[in-house]
């Protein structure tokens, strides 16, 4: 049976629909930023930006950009009514002090025990840059990863042991990929919400590390 992989927007929609009312959330730069476009309109969700914003709103209308109001990716944003500004140390107290309910991060690799590698390829000529990734990885109550299931050459990004430099050890709770949702549990990796037409056995074959079926495989 054939199946279609989720687009990035579809993964983002799936993540957004799982964020509950009242959650304090940090969306990492890159792919996770897309989640902001899909937050359910009937829920109040607080977006945090590491450079000192809570209650971050969407991009401004063209011509309304403010150079003093940008997100972690340095793009212009807005502030929702009721939002607040604060300095970096307070911002990272929110991140490191366990105050954020959820952060969504991109990743190169996640291990079976929830180790995260997302900041550096380790290539000799690469300029290393970490930003706030290590702070979020250990500080948020729930670290969710948003990534493609496979590399461009078809290797699983969910691995026994990360070969890229680590961002944090045992930190990832859940992985949203273009094929399924994988929870990192004490029993092992539990796969749910497989894309229509994808069998558990096929997902297992592609993934390469042991998966457990969740029992709600049919749920979208």
């Amino acid at each position: 049976m054939s199946y279609a992989r989720l687009t990035r927007e579809e993964i983002a929609r799936r993540i957004a629909s799982d964020i509950p009312e009242g959650a304090y959330v940090n969306l990492g730069i890159g792919m996770p930023t897309l989640v902001a476009n899909h937050l359910p309109k009937d829920r109040e969700i607080f977006l945090h930006s590491e450079n000192g914003i809570l209650g971050m709103g969407p991009a401004p209308a063209p011509g309304r950009e403010d150079p003093d109001l940008i997100n972690a990716g340095k793009e212009p944003v807005t502030l929702l009514t009721g939002g607040a500004y604060f300095h970096h140390t307070d911002s990272f107290a929110m991140m490191r002090g366990g105050h954020l309910d959820i952060c969504v991060l991109g990743a190169f690799q996640v291990s079976v025990s929830g180790d995260l590698a997302n900041w550096h390829t380790g290539a000799r000529d690469a300029i290393p840059a970490v930003g706030g990734a290590m702070d979020l990885a250990v500080g948020a109550k729930n670290v969710w990863v948003m990534m493609e299931h496979l590399t461009k050459s078809g290797e699983s990004k969910i691995v026994f042991r990360c070969t890229y430099p680590l961002t944090g050890i045992g930190v990832v709770k859940r992985i949203y990929t273009d094929l399924a949702v994988i929870d990192v549990t004490s029993r092992g990796l539990v796969a749910s919400r497989l894309v229509p037409g994808l069998s558990f056995d096929e997902l297992q074959r592609l993934t390469g590390v042991p998966l457990l079926p969740s029992g709600d495989r049919a749920a979208a």
């Binding site: 450079n51 340095k74 300095h87 990272f92 300029i127 990734a133 290590m134 702070d135």
Partner: protein
């Protein structure tokens, strides 16, 4: 009468010495004390250690300091940018030392300096390349890394308004590292767009009290278009 308002950026930075550690505010284009950095380039101090979130963009700001050969070492969290070519070339040629620090640890190390903390343990970075060689300890079941304060000889920050006692308020996300850096240096120079009379800043809303500020320099306000261009370059 106490008057911390300096006549010019040049006058405010005249005593910066070779080998100084300079904390420079800003995140992307927001909160960058551009006029003070230009004045530091002109001032000529060498062998500087620069602490900033990034490592310069295009050929302005921190990149201009790098290009002028004034920087021995940079301490930052995110040097790699689309236009960080000045840093990239110097780093690959081994001409500038890089100390890469997780952003929250960078901020907290400066907070610790400002607050007189000897050192602190944090879980951030444990088990990663950035904790290599550092002392570790298990605290409440969590693996932690010992991190030391970063003291500045000089801090350069950008605020919106200041008064002659050095009280500062900022604007939106341009606040970023300013208040923490101001507390962490022996000499803090703040550039502002407006200097105001004592009492004009609401005491309930002053973000950086003047005790953390040595000098205040007024600079001309740029147009939004100029700032957006600078922000895009950053």
């Amino acid at each position: 009468m106490i008057d911390k308002i300096a006549p010019s950026a040049e006058a405010a930075l005249a005593d910066v010495r070779d080998g100084s550690t300079v904390l420079i505010g800003g995140f992307g284009g927001a909160g960058v004390p551009a006029e003070l950095i230009d004045a530091l380039v002109a001032q000529g101090a060498r062998e500087l250690t620069i602490v900033n979130n990034n490592a310069g963009n295009a050929e302005v700001g921190v990149a201009a300091l790098l290009k002028a050969g004034r920087v021995r070492k940079i301490v930052c969290s995110y040097p790699r940018q689309a236009d960080s070519h000045v840093f990239d070339a110097l780093y690959r040629a081994g001409k500038v030392e890089l100390e890469l620090v997780p952003q929250g640890t960078l901020s907290e190390r400066m907070r610790a300096a400002g607050a007189g903390i000897g050192a602190f343990y944090t879980p951030t970075g444990y088990g990663t390349d950035l904790a290599r060689g550092k002392e570790t300890r298990v605290i409440d079941g969590k693996h932690c890394v010992l991190e030391h304060p970063i003291h500045g000889d000089v801090a350069l920050v950008k605020a919106e308004k200041g008064d002659r006692w050095g009280n500062l308020v900022y604007r939106k996300s341009a606040r970023n590292f300013g208040p923490t850096m101001a507390s962490a240096a022996k000499c803090t120079v703040a550039q502002v767009y407006e200097t105001v009379e004592l009492g004009a800043l609401d005491p309930e809303c002053i973000v950086t009290p003047g005790i953390f500020v040595t000098r205040v320099v007024k600079v001309p306000r740029k147009s939004t278009a100029q700032m957006l261009d600078a922000g895009r370059a950053a």
